[in-house]
Each structure stands twice: as structure tokens, then as C-alpha cells.
């Protein structure tokens, strides 16, 4: 019989396969290449501002992998399901990259005055008279000063990381303790994780909203949208899930993931990706619909900055990469059950996140606002994020190697080792 009717067995060695070391080396060399390219670009163009802008873009993408991983980890604790067991260790490793993301945040906070107009301008009225900012910006900066100030930016930034750090610490620590705990039953651990993860998801949404308002939305201090936080939350899930699925697909070529990887869970993950594709377009379109219906000059400007002056095709391609391609591809049942094709869709989705983050960040700055153009420093939007994400990946592969890739002592484990048709 070509189908195996025996139960799979876990291999004795649950640590990450040696291939991960090879991937880490590859990631490190990509990071080095792009870091050098970025340095050369800086020497030629002498525009450090652009390095910071690219850095912010890289930070937001690394943050989405790290915190998106944390959020999905909490989701799988609350909902249960065998897909959660399959993804658990890769997601935990993603959440443990938080210290690196904190280091990446520091340059943004240190050079806030070069990046954020509200930090650069000390006296809005004087800046308005000098013609540096317009009346609307002067009003917004003065009005929002109690929130948008460098001291507050630092304090909130550090607080965000401490709050997330607590969740990362306990979820990772308990998970390792559970592996070898024979004294407490499943009920004890399940409740423990649920009690932390449920409130954790609420805290995550609130804190992440603060993060993206501080770091990205405040680039344009005159504009605001209540949808913004949710857009980032969903896009983090989108990015982190695509990356996590890509990782387990790659790891499934080797033990130990090979023995717990089944088509059933792969299909489930494909459906979950599809759900995130829909949820993401739902958020993005809702914001657009609300602002389009409102038709107010102070809100519509944000979209005008991003669709006029050559940015229109970029926005159209954003829609294509983010929704059209993954949506129509993931409709197919066969594709979701095919490793290679599902991995391709994950790559499209990850590429879409880069594209979208660029589209969100770049038009905030006067050089690019309603003016899509090419210049040497603009290349920093490719070099810096590519170097940062490659470095993040290298660190991720390091954290992945620090513990076994299969969580033990979980009631789902015997089930996921069963062949897929043994129901009796």
C-alpha cells in the first residue's frame, strides 16, 4: 500500500535541522551585501534622512514578524487546534526576537528630530512664519504637543517593549516548562496559557495601536484615522502567518517537523492565510470607504498624497499583490495542499508587505509626496529594509535553534502523529 497506516513517531532529536544554519549564513550574507550597498548610497548621496526613512520601513516589517508572531501564538493558545501545535515553536522563536527589534527602534528614537516633523519643529508659529510648515501643520503640531513630543515618544516606546516583553517572556518560559512537566495535567497548563493569552490579545491591540500611531501615523501630524491601528494589527497577522507558514513548509523537508507535518494542517493554514487576505482588504477598504464618503479636505489629503503624482500605479499594484493575487490563488483547494505553490503564495504575501509599508511611509515626506520619482537616496527604501529583514531572519534562525521544534506534553501531539484517515 502506498499509504502508510502506521503512526508516525517523533525522532529522538527535536532540535532544528542543520539546514537552519545554512539559511542563517545565507541571511547574514544578504544582510551584509545590502548594508554595504546602503553605505555606498549614503556616501554618494549624503542623505542620512533617507537611511532613517528606510530604517523605519525595516523596523515596521521586523516588528510585524516579531509581534505578529506573538499575536498568532496567543491566538493559537486561545482557539486551540492542531495547526497551533505545528506553528507553536516557530511562532515562539519569532516572538523571542523582541530584543533585536528594540535595538532597531533605538536609532528611530535617537534621530526622531530628523524623521518626524513634530520633533523637528520646536515653535510651530515661528516655523509657520519661516515657511517651513503650513498653517494646518502648525495648528496640528501645537495642538498635539502634549502627546507628540520627544520625551513622550521615548517613554512610550520603552513602555511598549516592556509590556510586550512580559508576554514574550512568560509564554516562552511556560512553554518550555510544560515540555518536561509530569506533575501538572493538561488542564493546568491550558488554563494558564489561556489566562495570559486572552487578556494578552486585548493588550496587544491597544499597545500596537499606540505603536503605529507614534511611529508611522505621526509622520503626518495633521492626519488621523481610527482604522489605522486595526490595519496594522491585521497586516501583522498577515505578514507573520505568511512567514510562519513559509518556515514550516521549509522545515517540513527535515525532521522533526517532517513527522508532524500533515496535509490536513497545511490545508487549514492555507485557509487561515485566505482569511487574513480577506480581513486585510476589509480593513484597508473600510478606511478608504469611510474617508471617501466623508470627503473632508483634512482626511482625503492622505489618500491624495498616495494616489496622485505617479503613486496611483503603486497603489494599484499594492492592491494586486495584497489581495488580487493571493485571493484568487488561495481559492484553489489543490494549491493549498501543494507545498511548493503554497510557499509561492506566502512569498507574494511577504513581498506585498514590503510594497505596502513603502507606500504607507514614503509619501509622508515632502520629496515624495504626490511625486513618485527616482533618485539615488530613494534606493535606501530597498537597501535598508532588505538588510534589516535579512539580519532579523538570521537572528530568527538563531532563536529557532535554542529549543526543540516540537512542543511536547500537549494532547494534540498524539493526534497529529496519527495518519490522516485513522478515525476509528
Amino acid at each position: 500500500m502506498e499509504m502508510g497506516y502506521h503512526e508516525n513517531r517523533l525522532p529522538a532529536d527535536l532540535s532544528a535541522p542543520p539546514a537552519v544554519l545554512r539559511w542563517r549564513l545565507r541571511a547574514l550574507s544578504i544582510a551584509a551585501v545590502f548594508a554595504v550597498l546602503s553605505g555606498i548610497d549614503l556616501l554618494i548621496s549624503h542623505r542620512f534622512d533617507y537611511v532613517l526613512r528606510g530604517w523605519l520601513m525595516g523596523l515596521m516589517i521586523c516588528l510585524s514578524f516579531c509581534l505578529g508572531g506573538l499575536a498568532l501564538l496567543m491566538v493559537q493558545w486561545v482557539t486551540g487546534g492542531k495547526w497551533g501545535l505545528l506553528l507553536r515553536r516557530p511562532l515562539e522563536a519569532m516572538s523571542r526576537t523582541l530584543p533585536l527589534v528594540f535595538l532597531m527602534f533605538l536609532p528611530i528614537a535617537i534621530f526622531a528630530k530628523r524623521l518626524y516633523i513634530w520633533a523637528k519643529v520646536i515653535d510651530p508659529q515661528a516655523a509657520f512664519r519661516a515657511g517651513i510648515i503650513d498653517a494646518m501643520q502648525a495648528h496640528a503640531i501645537a495642538y498635539k504637543r502634549p502627546y507628540l513630543n520627544v520625551e513622550g515618544f521615548w517613554i512610550r516606546g520603552v513602555a511598549y517593549f516592556i509590556i510586550f516583553g512580559i508576554f514574550v517572556y512568560f509564554l516562552n518560559r511556560w512553554s518550555l516548562q510544560r515540555d518536561f512537566d509530569m506533575n501538572h495535567g493538561n488542564w493546568f497548563w491550558q488554563k494558564r496559557f489561556e489566562n495570559l493569552s486572552g487578556p494578552g490579545l486585548v493588550v496587544y491591540s491597544l499597545v500596537l495601536t499606540g505603536m503605529c500611531v507614534d511611529w508611522v501615523m505621526s509622520l503626518d501630524p495633521t492626519w488621523f484615522s481610527s482604522m489605522y491601528g486595526f490595519m496594522f494589527i491585521v497586516s501583522q497577522g498577515y505578514a507573520a502567518l505568511a512567514l510562519a507558514v513559509l518556515m514550516v513548509l521549509a522545515l517540513s523537508q527535515y525532521e522533526p517537523i517532517q513527522s508532524i507535518f500533515r496535509v490536513t494542517e497545511q490545508h487549514d493554514l492555507g485557509k487561515l492565510l485566505f482569511a487574513f487576505v480577506m480581513l486585510n482588504i476589509y480593513m484597508a477598504f473600510s478606511q478608504y470607504l469611510i474617508i471617501w464618503s466623508g470627503n473632508l479636505p483634512n482626511e482625503i489629503r492622505w489618500y491624495m498624497d498616495r494616489i496622485t503624482g505617479g503613486w496611483g500605479p503603486i497603489a494599484g499594484l499594492d492592491f494586486l499583490f495584497h489581495w488580487v493575487l493571493p485571493f484568487f490563488l488561495l481559492l484553489s483547494r489543490d494549491l493549498k495542499r501543494n507545498k511548493r505553490r503554497l510557499a509561492t503564495v506566502c512569498c507574494i504575501m511577504l513581498f506585498a508587505r514590503f510594497w505596502d509599508t513603502w507606500w504607507l511611509i514614503a509619501p509622508n515626506f515632502p520629496e515624495d509626496r504626490r511625486n513618485l520619482h527616482f533618485s539615488m537616496p530613494e534606493l535606501q527604501y530597498i537597501f535598508v529594509p532588505a538588510a534589516m529583514v535579512a539580519l532579523w531572519m538570521a537572528y530568527y534562525f538563531t532563536t529557532l535553534r535554542t529549543r526543540g521544534l516540537v512542543a511536547l506534553n500537549d494532547p494534540h501531539l498524539p493526534e497529529i502523529l496519527e495518519p490522516e484517515h485513522a478515525h476509528a
Binding site: M1, M3, Y5, L289, N295, H421, A422, H423, A424
Partner: protein, 183 residues
């Protein structure tokens, strides 16, 4: 329609889903296509064993996709027709063709018609509801199919079907019993 007479098929009874899946797979590999599995609860692998994954078997997916596309197009066209030709209204100076606002109802109709087509398409393609089915003539099927037994029926209108050869194939797959079912 004239009353159909004669043999409907050979019904093999199994105790476990695994045996059923093995048997279905073996019958499929032996060239049988007109067959069906009957289980008390969904056994997806049985569908796969019978070649459900082959493109021609995916009629429900296609009906669902077609329903979704037609539903979405219908609503979007309706909205465009109303706003541009039938009853144009100037709402806060926006263009007559305000596609942004049309998306929401068009999306709802896509979901609605995809869902309806999937549900009713599945019923129609399965020829349901069926007030009469020959298999209920078999007493062991009546008693076991909804509780704890797993059945494979190889149908007589399969070109490979022969009362003797098919029976010996089924008996080689360790069933509890093989019975002949009349129309």
C-alpha cells in the same frame, strides 16, 4: 420513468473507516469509478480514495465559483445601471459612477450567491433530496450506516461491474459481508 429493475450494486460492509478507505482505494485502482462510500460521519479520506481529487469531480467548487462571480457582477452592474442611467443622483458632488460605494453590496452578493450555489449545487449534483434509494433495501445498511458501520457500494452501471468478479474483489478486501442490492 419506468421502474428500474435488477441489481443496483454490490454492498460491502466494514467495521472501521481504515478498512473502508483501503477497500475504496483498491476498487478505484482496479478501475471501478461508479461507486460510493457510506459512513456514519464524514471520512474525507474515503472521498479522496474514490478519486474525488480528480478535476472532473470538482463540480461543486465550479458551481460555487460561478455563482460568486455572477452574483458580484449582477449587483455591480445593477448599481451602475441605476446610478448612471436609470436614476442618477448627485450625492455631495461625487461622480455618478461611484464604484467605491458599489463594492459593499456587490461583495455581499458575491458571498450570498457563492454560498447558495455551493449549498443547492451540492444537493442537485448529489441528486438530493432522494425519497427512495435502493441501498435501503439492504437490512444491514438500514441498521448500520448511521451508527457504527462503514459501507462501500460498487454500482452495477460501472462498465467493469460483473456479479462474480466484483464480488470476489470485494471479498478479498476482508469485509464483514458482501450483499447484492436490488433496485
Amino acid at each position: 420513468m419506468p421502474v428500474r429493475e435488477g441489481i443496483y450494486g454490490l454492498l460491502a460492509e466494514f467495521d472501521t473507516p481504515t478498512e473502508l478507505v483501503v477497500a475504496a482505494k483498491a476498487s478505484y485502482n482496479a478501475g471501478y469509478r461508479r461507486m460510493d462510500c457510506y459512513t456514519p460521519y464524514p471520512v474525507e479520506e474515503a472521498a479522496e480514495a474514490m478519486g474525488f481529487d480528480e478535476p472532473k469531480e470538482k463540480a461543486v467548487s465550479r458551481v460555487c465559483l460561478l455563482g460568486g462571480i455572477l452574483g458580484g457582477l449582477a449587483m455591480f452592474t445593477l448599481e451602475s445601471w441605476i446610478s448612471i442611467w436609470a436614476y442618477p443622483l448627485n450625492i455631495a458632488g461625487r461622480g455618478k459612477f461611484s464604484w467605491v460605494a458599489f463594492i459593499v453590496p456587490a461583495y455581499e452578493w458575491t458571498i450570498l450567491w457563492a454560498g447558495l450555489c455551493a449549498g443547492f449545487g451540492m444537493l442537485a449534483l448529489n441528486r438530493l433530496p432522494a425519497p427512495y434509494h435502493p441501498l435501503f433495501n439492504a437490512p444491514n445498511f438500514r441498521n448500520g450506516a448511521t451508527s457504527d458501520k462503514f459501507f462501500l457500494c460498487l454500482e452495477a452501471d460501472d462498465p467493469r461491474f460483473s456479479v462474480t468478479d466484483t464480488r470476489s474483489l470485494l471479498e478479498s478486501l476482508h469485509p464483514v459481508s458482501v450483499v447484492e442490492v436490488e433496485h
